[in-house]
């Protein structure tokens, strides 16, 4: 892999001038036939792939209204040109949302519009060629499908929809992305992205029980495949072993334990993330979702709760009822599914959970709105609940909280740079450069308010920041899970020292604090 320089952070965020081709070399590893097969895609570039690709584009624009309307409606006004974190971090003009869309649009124009058929040069239409395919492969894997552009477009044109279509077309002609497709295969075979089989998962959870009981003196359970539990917890598999994700999982366990809610994890559906969305494949997304339905039916649960994961929550909140519903066999008093933050927030409102906020006094916190929670989902019953609920939890469990600049939070939040199927080492340069706008906002609050840690509720954000913070001179443990803070502050009945879990927080104190 080529060496690259970490961008310098600007004190005042600036819009770079265009430098064509700076990220042309960036592309993820291509999926081998053995990875493509379980998903129903050809293993390598098919004969006459140009025709197949053009036909697939036609098929998709007949199946997805968003795609067709977005391909027709763009007026090239330029409103989106400075909105993508990848453009801001790389200066490559093909990372401007409109230019990224145009890579697909110019082929659509050529084959599916009169203007493009008769006057291709005039309207910027081109034939489907190997060059175009290579551009698609590079640049549609430089989009994290974060939807920031769709907020700022006067027509709501969403590059995520275009990226998904392009990736589906590439899969259909046999040019799949290794990282995403391998992971989907693991979910079909084993049940989660990491390929943790049931015995390994059981061992991990048992070890965790011992560890937590040792630390706080309360027998918090982390149950697996328990029939008749009230709640099926579906959480990203990173929560079972990665840092700081696992601290969040401990937090969920403590919340359920303290509230007396019986719950379980399922080995059949031990993954919240749904990479079917990243590759735009409705059918693969549906197959992954169906596992959750099957687990809920097998275990006879009453509720489904999702852990901290951004794109997972989008698929859960927005698509699960469509893909795997109806859920009329669950308790009708709760929405299906629920987010763990909604559960914790409700319990705080009802006075069931009590906190010792001083347990988080060694940190000054800020909150990173994860892109797909912010712009593609909701929590609670009111628009914008996805912004207020996590912040209300944070303010209930810590004393020191500041928000980052207004133009970098809520629905204007910057993506971490690793979402949408890009969280792979072969795209490290892109991930570091794409994190630049977020890093600039972090630097501001670090310098002005002494912020020591940033909380997030997405497994990808947590993994991505753990990796990229050091590139910008911050500690990798600067990123924390929201439920890790809940875990630190929650007052557990029967705890050893009667004041939460001071031992654990002492150990967890970030080195850069």
């Amino acid at each position: 892999m080529a060496d690259f320089e970490t961008p310098e952070l600007d004190d005042i965020p600036t819009i770079p001038t265009v430098k064509p081709g700076t990220m042309e070399h960036s592309a993820p590893y291509v999926a081998k036939p053995v990875i493509q097969a379980p998903l129903g895609f050809p293993g390598e570039l098919v004969d006459d792939w140009e025709t197949v690709a053009v036909a697939k584009l036609g098929e998709l624009s007949n199946k997805y209204r968003a795609l067709r309307v977005y391909l027709d409606s763009c007026v090239k006004c330029g409103a989106c040109t400075d909105k993508c974190h990848y453009y801001l971090g790389t200066s490559d003009p093909k990372n401007m949302p409109v230019a990224r869309q145009d890579l697909l649009r110019k082929v659509y124009r050529r084959y599916y519009t009169l203007a493009g058929k008769w006057f291709p040069k005039l309207v910027g239409a081109t034939d489907m060629t190997k060059e175009v395919l290579d551009d698609w492969y590079s640049y549609y894997h430089q989009c994290s499908q974060c939807r920031r552009c769709s907020v700022f477009c006067p027509y709501g044109i969403d590059t995520a929809e275009i990226s998904m279509a392009a990736r589906e077309i590439m899969d259909a002609v046999g040019k799949g992305q290794k990282y995403c497709n391998e992971i989907i295969g693991k979910v079909f075979k084993i049940g989660n992205n990491l390929g943790l089989p049931e015995p390994a998962l059981r061992d991990t959870l048992e070890d965790l029980e011992e560890e937590v009981e040792e630390e706080c003196g309360v027998p918090v359970k982390f149950p697996l495949d328990v029939k008749g539990a009230d709640v099926l917890l579906v959480t990203p598999s990173a929560d079972f072993f990665a840092e700081p994700h696992i601290d969040g999982l401990i937090g969920y366990g403590k919340v359920f334990h303290q509230a007396g809610i019986s719950w379980t994890v399922s080995s059949h559906a031990s993954e919240a993330a749904n990479f079917g969305m990243f590759i735009g494949s409705y059918e693969n997304m549906r197959r992954v979702s169906m596992r959750i339905r099957e687990a809920a039916l097998d275990l006879g649960v009453k509720r489904i709760v999702f852990g901290e994961c951004g794109h997972a929550w989008r698929v859960a909140y927005s698509f699960l009822n469509t893909l795997a519903g109806p859920f009329d066999f669950l308790d009708p008093n709760y929405p299906v599914p629920q987010h763990i933050c909604e559960v914790t927030h409700d319990l705080i409102q009802k006075g069931v959970l009590k906190f010792d906020k001083s347990q988080n006094d060694h940190m000054v916190l800020t909150y990173h709105d994860s892109c797909n929670v912010a712009r593609a989902s909701r929590m609670g019953s009111k628009p914008g609940g996805q912004f207020t609920i996590p912040r209300e939890i944070l303010k209930a469990v810590c004393n020191n909280y500041v928000d980052m600049a207004q133009d970098s939070i809520h629905d204007a939040t910057y993506c971490c740079g690793g979402g949408g199927g890009l969280l792979t080492d072969d795209l490290m340069e892109l991930r570091v450069r794409g994190a630049k706008p977020r890093m600039e906002a972090v630097k501001q609050v670090v310098d002005a308010h002494g912020v020591t840690n940033m909380a997030a509720i997405c497994a990808i954000c947590k993994s991505q920041f753990t990796k990229v913070f050091p590139y910008y001179g911050y500690g990798m443990d600067m990123i924390v899970s929201l439920h890790q803070l809940v875990s630190n502050a929650i007052i557990m009945d029967g705890a050893q020292d009667g004041a939460g879990d001071a031992q654990e927080t002492a150990e967890d104190a970030p080195q850069n604090a």
């Binding site: 199946k63 968003a66 977005y70 006057f119 912010a374 909701r378």
Partner: protein
């Protein structure tokens, strides 16, 4: 008289292409399924909330206002000017003239300036801002040229070189009433012929160009969908799901 016949035919043809073409696209958009709920959130949770959101987008360009103040100023100025100019032009197609069309005449005359200033501003951005220059195709310049020329030729007829608008109105009322036997002659005034020719050209390219953003905005799922995809308490029946017709075929493996 040949000129009158050519222009009459041109406008019949342009009208059919415009209405037929845009109608075809609207039907196509309406019939293409939207298989998943994808509103850009925070989004309204009710139908009436969505109507309000869309209203703010269409009238005030709310999202564009958040994005870029310069594009918003010029874009809004152009569209507002165009709207008032079009409304003013209704006087050439109605007899008697509606009261509110009479009312806006004094303002409508100056709408042309708003239009032209807006267009020139947008054009300047295309030339001066490197990001916008990068994404501009030749057709984007030609579209601006066409609209600016229509605006300028119209303004010249209003303020400098008046044309016989009574005769123009008689011509249009004639073709609107299909009075082929007694077709009123169109004045042979060069500015007028240019203006009308370019308007007809604009009508002809509308359904084949980016001008489709006009109907398109109403069909944008990220803006026009209600944020209610989840099975909320009390909404568990099958009819609360959003399943596209083509997606139903995939559901053969469903158990409970």
């Amino acid at each position: 008289m040949a000129l009158t016949g050519i222009y009459a035919f041109l406008f019949y043809f342009a009208f059919v292409v415009l209405v037929g073409g845009v109608g075809y696209k609207i039907v196509q958009y309406a019939r293409t399924p939207a298989p998943l709920k994808i509103p850009t959130t925070p989004a309204p949770t009710t139908r009436s909330g969505v109507v309000l959101r869309m209203g703010r987008e269409v009238v005030l360009f709310e999202s564009l206002f958040r994005s870029n103040k310069w594009i918003w100023i010029f874009g809004w100025l152009f569209h507002a000017g165009l709207f008032i100019v079009l409304a003013r032009h209704l006087r050439y197609f109605t007899e008697p003239v509606w009261w509110w069309v009479d009312l806006i005449q004094p303002f409508g005359k100056y709408g042309a300036f708003a239009m032209i200033i807006g267009l020139v501003g947008l054009w300047a951005r295309r030339l001066l801002v490197d990001r916008v220059r990068y994404i501009t195709a030749p057709s984007d310049h030609l579209m601006l040229l066409l609209l600016t020329a229509i605006g300028v030729s119209g303004a010249l007829m209003t303020f400098v070189n008046h044309t016989d608008i009574i005769a123009v109105k008689a011509f249009f009322l004639g073709i609107m009433g299909f009075e082929f036997g007694s077709m009123q002659p169109l004045p042979g005034d060069l500015l007028l012929l240019l203006h009308l020719g370019m308007v007809a050209l604009l009508m002809l390219i509308f359904p084949f160009s980016k001008l489709l953003h006009a109907p398109g905005v109403f069909f944008s799922p990220s803006r026009n969908q209600v944020d209610n995809p989840r099975a909320e308490p009390g909404l568990r029946a099958h009819d609360s799901r959003h399943v596209a017709p083509w997606a139903v075929e995939l559901e053969t493996d469903r158990k409970a």
